[in-house]
Structure formats: C-alpha cells, structure tokens
C-alpha cells in the first residue's frame, strides 16, 4: 500500500534561513508525488508536483523539491524562508487511475521566527 512519512512534525526556522522538510514515500512502482501547503484555517494549496522526469521540481513561491528513487524521498526546500511561509506542509503520494487516491503524510508545521 502507498504511504508517506514526514518525520519532522514541527520545524522552526529563522526568517531568511534555508528550509528543508523531509518526506519518505512507500510505493510499488513509479510514484507521483505532491507537496501541499495549508495556511491557518484554510484548505490546501498545491506547491508542486512530481511526475516521472526531471528529479528536481520547481514550485510556487520559491519552493522546490527533489525526488530520489534510491532513497525513496521527496524533500521540500526553500533557500530563504519568509514569515508568510508559516503554515503546515503536507507531502502526498498518488495512485494512478480512476479516482486517484492521494495519501497524505501527517504534515509538518513550520514556524518562522523573526
């Protein structure tokens, strides 16, 4: 069965510092991977997605992620964090076919300190 593990439930980063949020996936075959962001009391917004191809994926607001098949990972990165990045970040893996089932990790709550 497909699954995602986000090992860091809470992350605190100083504004302007770099960020990495880790994601490990379990999937038989070639995975389709996503990062979503959830701002306080809001729905989810897509940051970026990986479909088989270039392992480094660029997303919105300066985010990028790198797929590694050997490490079963899809880590999210940002070079310089802004206070507006304060949110919960979810990694997800999707099955193919009818009614694509998106399986989410438990999320990583990012706090940005001044």
């Amino acid at each position: 069965a497909q699954s995602v593990t986000q090992p860091d439930a809470r992350v605190t980063v100083s504004e302007g510092a770099s960020l990495q949020l880790r994601c490990k996936y379990s999937y038989f075959g070639t995975p389709y991977l996503f990062w979503y962001v959830q701002y306080p009391r809001q729905g989810l917004q897509l940051l970026l997605k990986y479909y088989p191809g270039d392992p480094v994926v660029q997303g919105v607001n300066g985010f990028e992620a790198e797929f590694s098949k050997s490490n079963s990972s899809f880590h999210l990165r940002k070079a310089s964090v802004h206070w507006s990045d304060w949110a919960v970040y979810f990694c997800a893996v999707s099955s193919q076919g009818t009614g694509s089932k998106l399986s989410f990790g438990k999320g990583a709550k990012l706090t940005v300190s001044p």
Binding site: Y32, F34, Y36, R41, Q42, G43, L44, Q45, L46, K49, Y51, F90, S94, S95, Q96, G97, T98, G99, S100, K101, L102, S103, F104, G105, K106, G107
Partner: protein, 115 residues
C-alpha cells in the same frame, strides 16, 4: 477559471443530529470529485470519490454518506452525528482525464464541531 465553493464555512452540531455539507465546482465539466476529512491537528483521509453524476465510491467507512446529484455538486451527509465526526472537511476536484495520477484542487473547507 475553475472555482470550488464549500458550504457552510463552519458548523456546530449536537451529537445525534443530521448533517449536510456541500461543494460546488464551476468552470469544469465532468470533474472527478472527492471528500477528505482532517481530524484536528491530523492528516487528511480520503472518504469518497465520484467520477460521474450518481456514482460515488466509498473509501473509508465513517458512518457518512455522499451523493453527486448534479455534475458540479457533491454532498456529504449523515443522519446521526457522532463526536468522532468533528474535524475539517475538504472537497476537492481533479480533471478526470483518467490514466496517470491527477492533481487535486481543494476547497477552503468546512470546520465541523460536534458537541
């Protein structure tokens, strides 16, 4: 552009009372539609999906039901709420192209508190 609207924004309901949550998608014909549930502070769990009017598939049994009465509308309901139904309910849509994995686009959610 496609828009997704969920209603109500929030609900406070008593245990044992009925519930109906709704979701409407505009600007896209025949989308795939999904209901997700998020326990407070938790991850998201897919509840139902629908690829066409009148057809709904259940993914997780939580004493809830879903219906798709129109192409652009998805309803989540129950006749008797439980305390465990509290949480955040998210509706989502995808293009419904079939084949490869699809990107899901989420609504702003409904926060349900059951007392």
């Amino acid at each position: 552009a496609q828009t997704i609207h969920q209603w109500p924004v929030a609900e406070i309901k008593a245990v044992g009372s009925p519930l109906s949550l709704g979701c409407t998608i505009k600007g896209k014909s025949s989308p795939n539609l999904y209901w997700y549930w998020q326990a407070t502070g938790g991850t998201l769990q897919q509840l139902f999906y629908s690829i066409t009017v009148g057809q709904v598939e259940s993914v997780v049994q939580l004493n809830l039901s879903a219906s798709r009465p129109k192409d652009d509308q998805f309803i989540l309901s129950t006749e008797k709420l439980l305390l465990s139904h509290s949480g955040f309910y998210l509706c989502a849509w995808s293009l419904g192209l079939g084949g490869g994995a699809e990107t899901l686009y989420f609504g702003s959610g409904t926060r349900l508190t059951v007392l």
